[in-house]
């Protein structure tokens, strides 16, 4: 089992927190939330491109974790279990959008809608404004290319690139084998490279 994003804390410390939360210790639950919540929000934002939808996913995901934590058996990492919940919720939203005939929050020209733009931050802002501008343009192109992936490919791509998950862990999130995760990531990467073409 991996210890996810606890940083200095060990996998054992995370397991202790989980066991305490399973017994109803709210402080332990808070610590788990605080360890993973920014990542949960980032994943939901990336997949749904909507701050409001990401906010709903955040709340529903952690409420489900709180309600079902006692059923967590340490078969997979806590992070994989949590991401699986988040991923399923996000995929549900995307399915519903598709059924309603909605696209994502990305407009026809590939630009994000105001709701999505509201949530963009630049934590690693460049000191050089020209470079920052170029970086922003590249970022927009990549996000636009991401829209050409299927929901599953996009999920796998996001988990690998922006959450640093290994193929084995991605497989756990998908409920699939490592090999299936690898094939999906390979397809996604090929499509992305094709879409970005000479921009690279």
């Amino acid at each position: 089992m991996t210890c996810g994003r606890l940083g200095a804390e060990t996998a054992g410390a995370e397991a202790t927190l989980i066991r305490a939360a399973q017994k109803g210790d709210q402080e332990a639950f808070e610590r788990l939330v605080r360890t993973y919540d920014a990542d949960v929000l980032r994943l939901a934002m990336s997949l749904l491109r909507s701050a409001e939808d990401a906010r709903d996913i955040y709340q529903e995901a952690f409420l489900r974790v709180w309600r079902n934590l006692r059923d967590f058996r340490f078969d997979a990492s806590f992070q994989s279990w949590l991401y699986r919940i988040v991923a399923n919720l996000c995929l549900d939203v995307l399915r519903k959008r598709k059924a309603r005939g909605h696209a994502s929050a990305v407009t026809g020209n590939g630009r994000l809608t105001p709701d999505a733009l509201d949530i963009l931050a630049e934590p690693r802002a460049e000191a050089d404004p020209q470079r920052a501008l170029f970086s922003r343009e590249v970022g927009e192109r990549v996000r636009s290319a991401l829209d050409g992936l299927t929901s599953r490919e996009r999920l796998v791509f996001e988990l690998r690139h922006f959450h640093g998950m290994r193929l084995k862990e991605i497989g756990e999130v998908l409920g699939a084998s490592e090999e299936a995760a690898k094939n999906c990531l390979f397809r996604a990467t090929q499509k992305m490279r094709q879409a970005l073409g000479d921009f690279l």
């Binding site: 920014a38 906010r55 709340q59 709180w66 949530i119 934590p123 404004p129 920052a132 990467t189 970005l196």
Partner: protein
């Protein structure tokens, strides 16, 4: 030269998923194969490009999500009754094994949630925020309806501190929390609360410090909000001008130019003229030129 299967190997290598022995063998091949070297470079530049699309949730969004989650854990939601929610809490704890003390403490916990009517009604509740200002750990910051805040701090044990923002020890704790690098959500909450005490030079210094040093642009915007009432003051105008000229984030520069322009003081002319020669953002350039025109000033330095 046999390059069959090399693309996948290169790709796996870049993702850190290629076993060491295969990686060694791949590099032996790459030394002698220009096509695979080029493919490795393409994959690396692809990964660099992807990195620029990384989204980060702003600390304010994280903080508000934490508040909403804290509220949701304390109150009924949707079709669920509060009894259902409480039952959930108890079931989590193992209701069949609940001993009286745990039952009492659980009831007390729920009671605290319901007793604080304002706590449930107020959108500023922050049950999931924490920081470590100078040995004392600020765990929670709550914004009350009448402008006061309530802080939970942790020394050897946690406790709540309630009081007006301008009064001690609340102010000092908020100042320490605003400077704390650990959690941007707490820094944002602390700066928001400190706006009520901005008449204090110490508090204004915190805003200046956050504007100049905080790595997170959302926090720097919060700091600018705190300095808004002092945009006419020469000392603070210099700080705003510096932010306008040097901040890496365009949204911070936009707000700085708006604050500086609001009072139309002559000192802005020189700043805007300097800015026009280096600003990359079209909107800021346009806005600056407009302000200069309105002030009958030349857009260039002669």
């Amino acid at each position: 030269m046999n390059c069959t299967g090399r693309t996948e190997q290169i790709w796996l290598y870049c993702y850190g998923e290629l076993p060491l022995t295969e990686a060694e063998e791949l590099f032996k091949h790459i030394e002698t194969c220009a096509a695979c070297r080029a493919e490795l470079e393409r994959q690396r530049s692809f990964l660099r490009a992807v990195e620029s699309a990384r989204l980060e949730p702003p600390p304010e969004l994280v903080a508000s999500c934490r508040r909403e989650l804290a509220e949701a854990l304390l109150r009924p939601r949707g079709s669920e009754s509060w009894r259902g929610r409480v039952a959930d809490l108890f079931r989590l704890a193992g209701a069949d094994r609940l001993r009286p003390p745990r039952l009492a403490s659980s009831l007390a916990l729920v009671a605290v949630g319901f007793l604080g009517g304002w706590l449930l009604a107020n959108p500023q509740i922050s049950l999931f925020s924490r920081s470590e200002p100078g040995g004392v750990r600020v765990c929670f910051i709550e914004h009350g309806p009448s402008g006061e805040v309530r802080l939970e701090i942790e020394e050897s044990r946690r406790r709540w501190i309630r009081g007006a923002v301008a009064r001690e020890p609340v102010r000092s704790l908020l100042v320490a929390a605003a400077r704390d690098a650990a959690d941007p959500a707490v820094r944002a909450d602390a700066l928001e609360a400190l706006r009520q005490a901005s008449e204090s030079p110490e508090v204004r210094a915190v805003f200046v410090e956050a504007l100049q040093r905080d790595p997170n642009p959302a926090i720097r915007l919060k700091a600018l909000e705190g300095l808004r009432p002092y945009a006419d003051d020469p000392q603070h105008r210099r700080v705003l001008a510096e932010a306008l000229l040097r901040d890496a984030d365009a949204s911070v520069r936009v707000m700085a130019v708006e604050l500086l322009a609001a009072s139309r003081q002559p000192d802005i002319v020189e700043t805007l003229q300097a800015l026009l020669g280096r600003e990359s953002d079209a909107y800021i350039r346009q806005r600056s030129a407009g302000i200069l025109r309105a002030m009958n000033a030349s857009p260039g330095i002669f």
